[in-house]
Amino acid sequence: MATETDTGRLEFDTDFGFTSDRIRYGWYGLLAVLLLVGAYAVYLRITQGMASTNLTSTTPWGAWVAFYIYFVGLSAGAFLVSTLSNVFGMEGMEKVDRDALFAAAISMAVALLFVWIDLGRMDRMYHPFIWRQITSPLMWEVHAYVAYIAVLVTELYFAMRVDLARLAARVGGWRGTLYRALTLGRTDTGERARERDETWLKRVGILGIPLAIFLVHGGTGVLFAVAKARPYWNSGLFPIIFVVSAIVSGAALVMGLYVLRSKVLGGDLDRSLLDRLAKLTAAFVLVDLAFFLIDMLIALNSLHPHDVETWLLILTGEMAWSFWLVMAGLGWAVPLALLSKRSWRRTPALMLLAALSVVIGIVGVRFNIVVPPLIVPVMEGLPAGEYFPSLVEWTTSAGIVAVGLVLYTLGVELLPLEPLGDDK
């Protein structure tokens, strides 16, 4: 990545955008289309209200809530992967550290957009900060999300500051101004300043780990687990499964982005790092699968009618394909097969495939968490639900995801998300 400059000294690359303009414009073009479609869908959502969804009073939560917990999980998972480097000092992982943090921050923003659009009164989204109800997990969650975003932004700052300062010194124009602004005036790139940043990065990371595990994602699991009216969720294991599947999706995301980044943006790919990320993903897929089976066993053995009925609905109901193909197939079977062989784990294309498979499979996991217990009525004699997201729900979701992708791509093109090379 080093280029010769007129002074004759080797310098680090200051341009880390797309290497091919065709890919760049194609990608932004696709995102622009998604944003436009999404914007129109959001317009319909706002003018028609919640009637634009296929939600009912029997099934009051659907696609938006599923995507919300999906992106919270993705964020928490990616953040925890980042701490492997900056807290636990795992070697080689510093290459994906910032990228993981940035993806975590963007995912969290996307998750909050999903919560927002799901509110019956979007104009009252600030109410949980004013009229708190201390017994409500949802009230605690929104506060935890804010604290968590603060942790992510602080982490990113300490992880990137030195490189931002170096860039500011070397790049002119608006980019130079942007980098200078992002250093918040701390432009010292000396060894002492670098060490101080690393110390703070570690400290904030240590604070962030329990926040991400217990409050942000464990807490989101608690949000469901406390609903005693829905026995399928009402289990102590539920929040733990939430965290494990979050790490699965986060690790896969970081692995996928690492491969993509080297393919699209150029640069070399560390195959042993790829192997390590792949093993991590595989290990957590196995843990996730094991906990899932334990949870199912407990539920079926309880013989609680609502619980058993919900499980039978998932395994054999109308939407069983989403369990067998998406959740079990893409989420567990495909990645476990692809991650099973050492030579495959070192093949970037296959690992990208495995990562994509997991990232899509976990979407199936989230839908199968939210929807099935809201199909089986809470009492015999009440109507059963029926739910498949409406076109407005799908297209607003695509638009919101596109917002995240635009922000992420801009970050990749402008920010030193991969550590810059040395000066000499």
Binding site: G49, M50, S57, T58, R121, H127
Partner: protein, 344 residues
Amino acid sequence: MSQSNTPGVPDVDAMDVDRMVENEREDPESVLAEADHSTDLGLAMAEDAKRVGRGELSSEQFWAKYDEAARAEFGEAYEVTPNPAVDSDDQTIDEAAAESLSCSVGSMDSVAAELDESEAVEASTAAADVDGDSDDPTYGMVIDLQKCVGCDSCTVACKAENRTPPGVSYNVVMEEEHGEFPNVSRTNIPRPCMQCTNPPCVQVCPVSATYKMDNGVVNIDYERCIGCRYCMIACPYGARYFDFGESYDDEITEADEITSPEYGIDRHEEGRVEPVGNVRKCHFCHHRLNRGEEPACVETCVGDARNAGDLDDPESDVAQMADSDRAFQLKEEGGTDPNVYYLK
């Protein structure tokens, strides 16, 4: 007088009615003669009061004219009463005119506010004397399943009373069939909101928009609810409904013209939006309870299966029925302790 062709309808016109009223009216002079105060002053003020009513005289002029005489006649009682004005929005003569008169207490509104305050203070000291909220009733309902015929009148009465939109039904009747032909039986279980003693919906609301009132009814604050629907997830009885903004207007002309004063607030009159985007539920017809009436479903029940009353009062019908051997609650094991009981 013209001959009427409609049987059973008396043939009278407006003049006849006026004459009938005039006949029934008591003679002002003899009425006032029995009172302790001046008859002449009373008659004069009555005549001028009529002119105020017709708009020929303003209340300010009226009180300026009688201020001195009224003070002389009624003394202190006159001085501490605001001068009423039927032609004014706040029912009191305007500030400037009131200043120039001998009455010293300000507007009707301020007097009313003071009265409310002193009553509230009295009430709170009374409540403090006896521990807690023992003054408040705990509204409960007892539904006799042996008397329920499954006619769904309660559901219809509820929709008519609360003007709920399509998809929102505070009360439903759950119908269950048991056994196999020919040995079948059928149970109808009407399901309003259980007004749980320990409501799971209240626990999970992130904005405290739903809460339990002292009278046992679980309330929803439509000004605060953000529509996250967490309470619907948490309710073990499926008693909560989301208002998707649908309307019967397509089927019935002007269906939305009449609204219900839910929780005592008529949103239609006050120009507020209906609770679209909020969660709604049965509130035991709280506006009717406040008027001393029974909930609409109870009043309408054809088999007298539904009963409402104060569960705290051991003498009340509902308290005694809820105590009987036949009484049970839905999902008792859940710890919600509903205030709706069923008799099996």
